[in-house]
Amino acid sequence: MNPKRFAPVLAVLLSGWSLASSGEVYGKIVEGASSVGDAAAVEAKCGAKTYPAVSTDKSGSYRVVLAETGKCTMTVKYKQQSTSLEIASYDDAVQVDLVIAMKDGKLSVRRR
């Protein structure tokens, strides 16, 4: 059996498994009690892989699909500032609602 012949098949199977186990992170970002609208962006980093920033929609909601599961870092960009927090990505979707605040001109974020 020539392993080189099966390499593409194996690659396709592995990529299929990776997609099937990918996690979705979604939620809403608010500043105090009001939505941030489409003014914020969310970037995720899982291990060495960085996912490009995704803008929130007009209701302040976002959705990021990650290929990895486990610990990830989410960075929220808002009004020319950015702040990060640790999140977890699972095989299934996870809701991560965020509350951002400007204190002494510095952006902070916490999970709600």
């Binding site: 640790e86 999140i87 977890a88 699972y90 095989d91 299934d92 809701q95 916490r110 999970r111 709600r112």
Partner: protein, 292 residues
Amino acid sequence: MADTLGKPKDRWDKLMIVLHPMGGLLTAVAVTSVGIMGSQVLNERQALDTNARLYSELMSRREESESSLRKDMFVSIIQTFLQPGAGDLDTKVLNLELLAYNFHESLNLKPLFLDIARRLDRPEAKDRQAFRARLNRVAREITAKQLFALEGHGKSFRRTVDLEEVRRQGRSGVALEGESVAVGGKQCEVNLYVLDSDPEAQQLRVRLEVKAPENAQDPADTRAEFYLGWYDFPMIDNTRLANGLRCAVTLSNFSSAMADLTTVCFPGEYASLKDRPYYDEVIQKLQEATQK
């Protein structure tokens, strides 16, 4: 023309002669109109009352027939769980799905879910992965439905717990970031501690601590410790607080390294149908309504 005194009748006298019999006629017309209108109003009100009575009768009959149908359905399904050896695992899982989708707001189905889960752990159980996946999927769907309904009337927050950290900390457990929750003018501080984890059973031992704000009239704290898994449904399995609110913790996600918990606090009237309010709570609500 002249009257008895010989004074000639002017235009007003003539008008009075014409209008004098008209007065009686107008009075009769007015009395008749009032009578007809009054009768119409009475008829309309009677029709409305009849419609309302008919509607309530129809509703109560529908409710009765639905209750009877649900009772028959419940009795026939529950028999398969109570009779020893009745039905194979496939039938039991299907029956549990039926029970869960139809009675999740009125029954605590956790014992049945756990019973099936125990049967699946037996060595002779076939297709255990597929059955377990079905059980967990039903449980997650029911939890999500109930959470969605409760979040509309209360407040919720989500936290992630690092299970490796829980194992490292041992008996002291891991404290999750607290949240200040305000529902219907009632405020409380909710804290969660994860004391232990069982990755195989996908369960956590959790302590829920709810503290009243410092300036509250009744600063009673609530503390509850429980095992949390996929089969804990928030409407049914919740903690009653001193201020009448309920708080429930649910498992949203679980992996070998992390778990996500969702906590929802909501007014007691949105708890399950089996959860009746205490008498003092009813009296307190009546008093509040009177004060308003």
